[in-house]
């Protein structure tokens, strides 16, 4: 199997729809099958960086806990769009493996990927 890179872009907010979670599940599957995979959070998905998520109150799994485990699965960095963070007044989350990138770096990441899937 030739190693074709895949970038999964999540632009949906966590918890309000299934998209963030199902995008993350695909990232985990890609890591499990040893694919060359990137994860990019942009737009409302960057809310997932907010600390102190008490998701038991809404009967949901804690997505930031799942994201913390990504390096163990073989994904060292979660790329996060700086423009999206700034527009929402969110600082980087120090306890997540997040790598804040500029719009230009976002474009380069997408252009250099063989496939892009957006959730």
């Amino acid at each position: 199997m030739t190693n074709k890179s895949i970038t999964i872009v999540i632009s949906s907010a966590p918890y309000s729809s299934s998209s963030f979670r199902e995008g993350l599940d695909l990232v985990l599957a890609a890591c499990t099958f040893d694919r060359d995979v990137n994860l990019l959070l942009r737009d409302n998905a960057v809310y997932a960086l907010l600390p102190g998520q008490e998701t038991t109150h809404i009967d949901q799994k804690n997505l930031s806990q799942i994201m913390k485990a990504l390096p163990i699965y073989g994904l060292p960095d979660i790329h996060v769009c700086k423009t999206s963070l700034d527009a929402r007044g969110i600082k980087n989350a120090p306890d997540l493996p997040a790598k804040v990138i500029s719009e230009q770096e976002v474009n380069e990441l997408i252009i250099n990927s063989h496939n892009v899937i957006r959730f």
């Binding site: 199997m1 030739t2 998209s19 695909l26 099958f33 496939n115 957006r118």
Partner: protein, 130 residues
């Protein structure tokens, strides 16, 4: 040229799954090879044999099955996404003690690995819906 398709939306709720079907029909009729159609998120509803639109409206489930009867392509439904949304085959229904099963003939439940593999093996990979 191997093409794979990802369908994320349910029939009727969104036009995307209909567009996906039309794309596949056109590609196959023009001699292209569609390796796999993978149904994820709400797209799993395309696999339900008991979806019943009015007789004068399109029945996407039947159209997908008809496509499979004419051409060689795989219709794979994500097993986890489907279970959540109430689309199960006989085996899953038995395993979970469910009263019924509804996955249509020619559709197959499988894991996200099949989506990853489709992406890796195909020259073109197209997503319909969100």
């Amino acid at each position: 040229m191997k093409i794979s398709v990802l369908v994320l939306s349910a029939p009727f709720d969104s036009q995307s799954s209909y567009t996906a079907l039309k794309y596949c029909e056109a590609a196959l009729q023009s001699g292209k090879t569609i390796h796999r159609v993978f149904f994820y998120q709400s797209g799993v509803h395309n696999g339900s044999a008991i979806s019943t639109p009015p007789k004068d409206e399109v029945n996407l489930h039947q159209r997908w099955r008809a496509l499979k009867e004419t051409y060689d392509l795989e219709l794979i439904v994500c097993i986890a996404a489907a279970a959540r949304r109430g689309v199960v085959d006989e085996s899953e229904a038995k395993r979970h003690g469910l009263a019924a099963h509804n996955l249509g003939e020619h559709f197959e439940l499988s894991g996200l690995g099949q989506l990853i593999e489709a992406q890796a093996l195909s020259d073109r990979f197209i997503t319909f819906g969100s």
